[in-house]
Symmetry: C3
Subunit: 368 residues, 3 copies
Amino acid sequence: MNAAETLAEYAESLPLVDHHVHGALRKAPDRAEFEELLTERAGGNGFDTQLGFAVRRWCAPLLGLEPSADAEAYLAARVALGETEVARRLLAAAGTDTLLIDTGFAAAGLLGIEEMAALTGQRVAEVLRLEALAEDLLAEDPSPSDFLDRFPAALAETDAIAFKSVMAYRSGFDVPAERPSRAALLAALDRYAAAGAGRLTDPVLLRQLQWWAIDAGRPLQLHCGYGDADLDLRLADPLLLTPWLRAVEGSGVPIMLLHNYPYHRQAGYLAEVFGSVYFDVGLAITHSGAASRAVIAESLEVAPFGKQLYSSDAFGLPELHLLGARLWRRGMAAVLAGFVDAGEWELADARRVLALIGRENAVAVYGL
Amino acid sequence: MNAAETLAEYAESLPLVDHHVHGALRKAPDRAEFEELLTERAGGNGFDTQLGFAVRRWCAPLLGLEPSADAEAYLAARVALGETEVARRLLAAAGTDTLLIDTGFAAAGLLGIEEMAALTGQRVAEVLRLEALAEDLLAEDPSPSDFLDRFPAALAETDAIAFKSVMAYRSGFDVPAERPSRAALLAALDRYAAAGAGRLTDPVLLRQLQWWAIDAGRPLQLHCGYGDADLDLRLADPLLLTPWLRAVEGSGVPIMLLHNYPYHRQAGYLAEVFGSVYFDVGLAITHSGAASRAVIAESLEVAPFGKQLYSSDAFGLPELHLLGARLWRRGMAAVLAGFVDAGEWELADARRVLALIGRENAVAVYGL
Amino acid sequence: MNAAETLAEYAESLPLVDHHVHGALRKAPDRAEFEELLTERAGGNGFDTQLGFAVRRWCAPLLGLEPSADAEAYLAARVALGETEVARRLLAAAGTDTLLIDTGFAAAGLLGIEEMAALTGQRVAEVLRLEALAEDLLAEDPSPSDFLDRFPAALAETDAIAFKSVMAYRSGFDVPAERPSRAALLAALDRYAAAGAGRLTDPVLLRQLQWWAIDAGRPLQLHCGYGDADLDLRLADPLLLTPWLRAVEGSGVPIMLLHNYPYHRQAGYLAEVFGSVYFDVGLAITHSGAASRAVIAESLEVAPFGKQLYSSDAFGLPELHLLGARLWRRGMAAVLAGFVDAGEWELADARRVLALIGRENAVAVYGL
């Protein structure tokens, strides 16, 4: 076997830790819902994308069709098998053994943590979304001063293995680094209540949620870069976090920068220069499909190999759980085989880097 | 034939729609003018660039020389054949069948729309540059309140198939998204007159021109990213348009982001998440020559295949009309063959994506 | 021989001019120091990086070990040979013949210019760091008005072949372009003295140092982009220099943008559109190791071939002097061979571009 084959085989056999993922759908989507989940946009043509091509290429055979069967045949096979059987097949083929599940978005339509464990037989743990918890606590009891005690207490008590911030979606990262004052927090909570509560977007509060997460001392995941049209992508450049990363570096709390595209080189730089910063290019691999190898190669430039992780960020469609893993395995094996074939790397080193990024770094950071 | 050969042959045979291009030169350039048109800068060494190498490689044989003939031989052959014959040969070899021609810059030295039709025998249509029209109307009649009626009326009456904004060159995109008030417009027009008219750079007026274009309901092309030294490239990042794209999304007017380099991944993201946003990497392909395949591959990451178009942005030199097409065909075929050879795409899908981006998306958006 | 072999052989034989480099270590580092010099960060795992893999791959054989020997064996071989012998071997194998040495950082622990000349037998010249000179002069004599005369006089008198600014590290580039007034300078110098002198970070003073360098008329090197955690990388985007580059273009003084990663495409654009702007991707090649070919390819997109140079930015470890050159030679040869094999470039042109970037552009700009 040449390097490409050896590494492909090794990559396929590696049980991955998916350190940021969501539940699979509770019930079968119709075609419009299916395409919307592929494109992150209502009304988009989900099949005329890299991701759509990858669904046809890699998921169709797992549903008993030819590779790259057409969209109609694919959707018909999905219906015929039923959502549970589709999920069972695709999640099994993903070849993960651990799922760290973000439960903070659209949870009602998705399988919960225990259900995902039952469906897959894999180890699962919860990633708790800070903004969702804050909104829930404030809905129960809007008293500002109570909230200042109840939120950190809730973080301390939860079983969650990590926290997640979606500040990128709410205010963007171009906000001050320092911890807000108590007076500023109380004023912000008053503004929030006066505005009728709901979606929490005040940067003062969003910043404080992150500081409370740092105090709680568990790994903190931050959505960075690539997402849907709710985002102002420029304000999700992880480099905007630089002053804050400097401020929290002393805490030693692992900061996990998720996705990052098209700022993944920037994320790799942050992972190099800050001891507690880790990153992945999760969602960008799934959505760039056959073109994801360049993204993967760029994620392997300046970042230390101990500072990158695997995630799928799959949401709802089990196709996304499968493709995150499939494209990561194929892309990583191809890129690393390129290094070996060029005479730059040893095969054993390539294998070790695959294991670090696909599994071992997550095991170490999350204490699995 | 392998995938690379099949796709190369198919790409060569595809009649392209060049959805953003300028006229060819009216008379032969001297050497300094020729090199300036290659580099977008006076005094540059136009032949020691990717574009210069591509001219020698691909245009020389069409002028009866060996591939990669030297610069002196190339320029001598140009003179011997005469500008019209050079243009005829190179424009024919470009293999387009439709040219959407921006007539708003340095038009006196270039062939007009009818002359381009006569020279090439191809379908032509005009792209009307908003700023040039505004400057012309204000030169005829500087009355601010008249202008507020005359400009939208002129847009409604023109035969232009699309509009074009060069706000990127004039103010950059870091301007408010909303429609200026009538009072703000009148004040800006007074300032413009008081400053002696001339080049229109006031962001209030530039924004309003775009809003009028939206009202007029034809596709609006925006220069984004890569251009000459008049530009502040950072302020031409299409992501700065995000709030404005959100504001105009409801109109359904197609927004065509041109060039975008080095922010073409950002443009691809905008094309994914906004239903009316389309993009190309036009000028960046011509200028990066042999290295354009990476740019092309990056343009095929997250953007849906129905949202990308072909343009050359060729200006003056018919070499640029030829090379835009030649490099696009070769680069696209090579990149897509890579996906097929990697086992990720089917050949038929690759062929379809070539047709969409090279031709069919433009036919649909512009109603050709 | 095929193109790849021919170009690899030619690249290996080319005597490089390293136009931005530091001295080698005066004494042997311990393991922690060695790894810190690999990662630009204390406590990092220097061997689990592209650079660490490249050290094992390319330096181990020069120390009598197998390629990719393990880290322990490598460090033991280093100790056994002694620092001087290690430096002698690695610097000789780098194959440079000219070193332009930045003496302005941590000079006490590094070999000086004469010592580097003695160790290598190569031509050496000094690159004078503006901020270090200013801090030294102000430490000797803090009088503001004296300094306004003494600093330009010192620039005029020095033997340095070029100047270097680290404004990127001190204030970032988002500062006004114009020359500060005398009053503003005197006020800034008063503030500096009142703050206890030390590290000079006032943007008014940093800007004036650059203007004085322009007045002195020697090439001015600017650190851009990639560096350590002291940097706010976003503020080191060379595009932020655009208004200043426009302001100094008339002087004709060559501006050398160093490193630039991940903004190297932006640097290439500046080198295309500004006649006096040159650039390199120095440090980014060393740190991205086997993945550096993409960075090199991107540096060859829009920039004219007469506007790019070679540098290693090697600091302390002679491994970095060797790897800068080794990875540049291998990467450039592979990328250019790709252009030739694709039928886009002639072999002779590829050879010429290697010579321009590796050597001849530096000879011309610095008048070597």
